[in-house]
Amino acid sequence: MDNRVVEFVRGLRASGVRVSLAESVDAMNAIEALGIVNKDVFRESLRATLVKESDDFAAFNELFPLYFGSDGPPLQSAMEDLSADEQDMLKMALSAMSGRLQQLMAWLTSGEGPTKEELEELARRSGADWANSQQEGHWVTRRMLRQMGYAHLEEQIRQLVEMLQQMGMSREAIEKLLGVVEANKEALAEQTARQVGLQIAQQRANRPEDLHGPDLMYKSFDALTANETAILRQEVQRLATQLRSRAALRRKRGRQGKFDSKATIRANQRYGGVPLELKYKTRKLKPSLVLLCDVSRSTENVVEFMLRLSYQLHDQVSKMRSFAFYNRLEPIPDEVMTKLRHDQPEAAFEVIRQLLPYIPYGTDLGGSLAEFTENHLGVVNGRTTLIILGDGRNNFSSPRIDLIKSLQRKAKKLIWFNPEPRGAWGTDDSDMLEYEPLCDAVYEVRNLAQLATAVDKLMAGG
């Protein structure tokens, strides 16, 4: 059992759940305390000790039956209900069939399914080793069933029935036989699916991870593969924790700043006015942010990570409003954040796309700025840090430098995050070089590491 639990933990880790050594020890202790007889209790005790994040419950629920489920429902035997004569007839009819199908029909009628080794071998031949996810597993299962002969099964059963009728088997016996075969068919399919699922989970756990989050942090956003993006998404959380503790420390040190004479006198009334307890002015350093994101195709990745980071850090910010712009400007609805949080980035961008449909060469920063100034200027005040995340490419329409100027004056700070390499600024339709001198700070954010540094500086008030 211990071995199985260790393997299960490896499986969990491979699907992205962080399980520490201490936690697997806890799991073992829990099993010792509660035993494994009651499946539900066993499951709860594993979950309480191993999974500490409700978002990871899905992975747990998917893997648990694969590792600790029975091997699927057992097959029944059709032979018991048949008389000796009828059994002979069945055997004869089966032996008349061709190789692979004979095997399948034998499994389905005898109640003795394929052995574990046979199933493993079949799964391997159907490509289970190459599958990366449980979704691909469904496809492998279908292939495997086809290999076992499920595609021609209906026809085979009909032929078998005909043959048995010719041999003179009674109608009831045939009916009964068909019932058993039908039930076994389902059961075997389920056994197969479980086997495939388990095999995929195991081999995922055994595969060395090729690229780790920290290396990927330096890879440019536009060069990331889908897989790498997924790894980075998990990295964001850890990154945010780091940034948060840094921001909290900074705030705490900032607190030690000015002596507050009024509060000190008030606090020390109870000591007869002897200043035993000194009070300091707490400086509120939490920034209030307004974020304008360019959501054209090229910036999708960087926007996603920016939104994720800002969501994770929302307790470090006193107020946060975000807008998406493309050819027009729209406030980003809460729904987008919820979808991102539940790891559905495609769905999240679908929501934005519905607000701002895609048009080729549609980006119009100048126009969007005009719209922002007209409709949403109220969100910018002297305490706001305004961040523009975009490449500053305007498709040769007016850059509206005047609006940037007035926004910069109105806001506490105007900061620009540009996902393009510095060398590309000002080339073609990029107006970045014109915007740059007007901003209080400009950062190049080509990868997650740069983005994190920029956000950290932002939190520090720079």
Partner: protein, 299 residues
């Protein structure tokens, strides 16, 4: 002490807390592995209530520490009672003078005084706050650390020592070990991610909105005056609301408030009028109320 999971559930039940199998298992595990529980879930599903019921069921006192932004060690752990120290110094002035009467030099006086220093930094002048109360208590207690996600990250780090070794260091007194290991329940509304280190030390319990059946049971238990068919209807409405896209979903406590409101208003059935009048008990945002009214009106 609980004997087994069924016993946990039965005894929580006798405190009017209906515990699912999951809750029973985790509480039992917490007791047998001596680990804190971290309970997460939406607001108002009975996380805090669980601690109260747990304490009552185990016949142990409950010590509660409510977290908030800016909570620090001195508020959570202990404080020196300055006022009392000052008072004692004043009252003991004569004694002090006696002690110091025969010394010649200032240095000698300071040394003599230093020998007596421990008098003023002893447990007499220690004002224990919830954490220290829980550790120093003569009988085992249930310690509830409520809404840990509201506290700062530094405080979370500080809690680690308390939670894993059940001891704290007071610089003037040394390390204080727990006389009895307290049962600890931390709750979080998930407004921010907690640190890995904290999570690792806890058993994790996710408390979600209850099923229709469980919620009906809770309503029947807590508001026995509500007629059964009305309770059935009320719970159905609440579940319907939870499936909607609202800013704040109605929680169990709100269901109970609503049930009590229905009893007070002497409602015979939940018709359009009653619903419109009482919807504000369930929903706390104007936009949500409007949305719900539109939907209910359509049917």
């Amino acid at each position: 002490m609980f004997k087994n999971i069924a016993d946990v559930r039965k005894r929580l039940g006798s405190q009017q807390y209906i515990a699912s199998e999951e809750i029973g298992t985790v509480v039992y595990l917490a007791q047998s592995l001596c680990k804190p529980i971290l309970a997460e879930g939406p607001a108002g599903v009975g996380k805090t209530e669980l601690a109260k019921a747990w304490a009552a069921a185990a016949r142990r006192p409950l010590v509660r520490l409510q977290c908030y932004e800016g909570l620090d060690e001195s508020k959570a752990l202990y404080e020196w009672e300055y006022a009392k120290q000052m008072l004692y110094t004043q009252l003991l002035r004569d004694t002090l003078q006696n002690v110091l009467s025969d010394v010649q030099t200032l240095g000698e006086a300071a040394n003599r005084l230093a020998q007596e220093e421990d008098v003023f930094f002893s447990e007499n002048f220690l004002l224990p706050r919830p954490l220290l109360t829980a550790l120093m208590s003569d009988e085992p207690v249930v310690l509830l650390i409520d809404e840990i996600d509201r506290a700062d990250v530094e405080f979370e780090a500080f809690l680690l020592e308390v939670l894993s070794d059940f001891q704290v260091s007071v610089p003037e007194l040394g390390t204080i070990h727990a006389k009895h290991q307290p049962m600890v329940l931390l709750t979080s509304n998930n407004t921010r991610e907690l640190s890995e280190a904290l999570k690792r030390r806890c058993l994790y319990l996710y408390v979600d909105y209850p099923t229709h059946k469980a919620e009906l049971e809770i309503v029947r238990l807590k508001v026995p005056d509500l007629r059964p068919e009305l309770a059935q209807q009320a719970v159905a409405v609440v579940h319907q609301l939870r499936n909607m896209d609202l800013r704040k979903l109605p929680s169990i406590s709100e269901t109970l408030d609503w049930a009590r409101a229905l009893v007070t208003l002497n409602a015979d059935s939940i018709d359009q009028k009653t619903l419109t009048n009482t919807l504000t008990v369930l929903l706390k945002y104007e936009a949500d109320v409007a949305k719900a009214r539109r939907m209910m009106g359509r049917e």
